[in-house]
Amino acid sequence: MSTSEAVLRQTADAFVPQGEPVLRRFVRDPSAMIGLVIATVAVLAALLAPWLASRDPTATDFQNRFASPSRSHPMGTDNLGRDEFSRILHGARLSLGMAVAGTVGISVVGITLGLVAGMYGRLVETLIMRVADVFLALPTLILALVVVGLLGQGLRNLIITIVLVQWPGYARIVRGMTLKVRERDFVEAARAAGASRLRIVLRHVAPNLVGPVVVLSTLDMGRVLLAVSGLSFLGFGISPPTPEWGAMLADAKIFLDRAPQLLAWPGMSITTMVLAFNLAGDGLRDLLDPHTMDRAPGREVRRRGDRVRAMAPAA
């Protein structure tokens, strides 16, 4: 799902330091809180996996294949008798880790290129933005497939791929924001005071962009997780026997009749996490959307014309 560009734009425009009320509103939004709690618990579980799941996720036990859940194996065992609970928890480290690493990578590359395009203009800007346009002219997954297929499977290549195919959206937004911030009075003042361009970029423009982009990338985390596990499901991720949710699902598909639960555990894990990120993201977006702020309950006070124009494709 990539409604993200409009979301990005909205969030970017709306990001103004709000102080305490914002936090209070977020806490009062039950679905956002549920999302946040699930995400936090999952990340903690992933970090503490070696202690929470004492069994080796790769240790096989052929006497005990396809076991039902029991006290010693809370989620049963898989086709090689490996402890499913342990594999899910250790899988979380990789799946969530890749989603986080991918998101951080996209943000860093997107901010850098967007800033450079916005600040330096001319040839550099044209070059960066045209390349971004071409990347955006392909459906993300298909481009990702080609890149990962050519780079070869593996953890690092998967993350490189995700960053490579998703930076253009961010670069576009950041460039737009840079152009706006650049015209602000404090930048003018810095320029008048004789600050160098590099100093203006680093001290005055960049700090104003970090906040929004961090918010945006949080919003996007679910999408990145879906992309990563999708590629991994197709066989371009980590090689066995290391546990990873997408790959576990792919491994389980041949035992569909015999042990559907082996599909269900990793499948539900991915769904739950994407849902959690989306819930938290939704709450965050509502929070930062000025249109929904200070709205009396039951009344929509958005002005439609504004938004339609804001969403019209740039000619």
Binding site: T3, A137, V146, G149, L226, L256, E300, R307, M311, A312
Partner: protein, 313 residues
């Protein structure tokens, strides 16, 4: 309108050219030697002469830009080279698979329209009611569940357990149902939410208030005033939704062993069938571009203001 269309088409051509260059350059820069790959598919242990032959056949003995030019010329005239894996021209293979993908995409689109429209309207009419809340959770779930997982859930429930539908493959209309649902899930979720939001905005407009005071029922208002006006923001997102649809097709075709272009793409990539990869990706890009163009057109049809603005610029 014709002028607007012409302008948009003109802008699309350089993008398409750049896209074709990106695809060609990407695949060409892949590690490994395609000519050796091709020769190895023909004979077990190819001699240097055989490898050289393959190299010549693939134009790899020419400078890079010449290679690209030849490939582009081929693309325009419908010759995209021999498939490494299929031992026949790339174009023939794609032609055989194309129908299956079109069938799946159209069926999915049908599901999206049939599901998203009533769900969006319902959620808007029952704003802040439990119906709205329920639909919100349903939509969030639809947007969060990976298509490969949803596919297997359906197979386990509808095919293996209830034996209502065939497990996989392409055998008639029944086998189309599950894949179409899977492809449609995310777009349906997104569009029904967009439609809801957009309808709610329309509801607060003056002309709706007028209609309400005239005594029109909610449903009448939705049909007469709401949908057309609410459609504009929704159409803006159609391009992205179509992108999601194309992506969904790839994974869904794998899950259901659907013999379409999506599956062909994944096969080509894992078999390092370079000409095939270039061809299918170029095709996907072209279709995506044309669809987006179509969406822009539709947008102009729905909202005359945009057409005027674009023409005067």
């Amino acid at each position: 309108m014709a002028r607007y269309l012409g302008r948009r088409l003109l802008v699309a051509i350089p993008t398409l050219l750049a896209l074709s260059f990106l695809i060609f350059a990407l695949v060409s820069s892949a590690p490994g030697d395609p000519s050796e790959e091709l020769a190895r598919r023909r004979t077990q242990d190819p001699s240097p002469a055989e490898i050289a032959d393959a190299k010549h056949e693939l134009h790899l003995d020419r400078p890079f830009l010449t290679q690209y030019g030849l490939w582009l010329k081929g693309a325009v005239t419908g010759d995209l080279g021999p498939s490494f894996a299929k031992k026949r021209p790339v174009v023939d293979e794609i032609r055989d698979r194309f129908g299956a993908t079109v069938e799946l995409t159209l069926a999915a689109l049908l599901f999206v329209v049939v599901m998203a429209l009533p769900l969006g309207v319902l959620a808007a009419m029952f704003h802040r009611h439990w119906v709205d809340q329920g639909l919100r959770i349903w939509a969030l779930l639809g947007a969060s569940i990976p298509s490969f997982f949803l596919g297997y859930v359906l197979i386990i429930e509808l095919a293996t357990r209830l034996k209502l539908l065939p497990v996989a493959g392409r055998q008639g209309l029944l086998s189309l149902i599950m894949p179409a649902i899977v492809v449609a899930a995310t777009p349906t979720a997104v569009i029904s939410r967009l439609l809801r939001a957009s309808l709610l905005e329309v509801f607060s407009d003056d002309y709706v208030r007028t209609a309400r005071s005239k005594g029109l029922s909610s449903l009448q208002i939705v049909i007469r005033h709401g949908l057309r006006n609410a459609a504009i923001p929704v159409v803006t997102y159609l391009g992205t939704v179509i992108g999601a649809l194309l992506e969904g097709v790839v994974i869904t075709e794998i899950v259901f062993a659907w013999p379409g272009v999506g599956r062909l793409t994944v096969e080509a990539i894992s078999q390092r069938d370079y000409p095939m990869i270039q061809a299918v990706v170029l095709m996907a890009g072209t279709i995506y571009l044309l669809v987006n163009l179509g969406v822009d057109m539709l947008y102009g049809v729905l909202d005359p203001r945009i057409r005027v603005e674009a023409a005067s610029r």
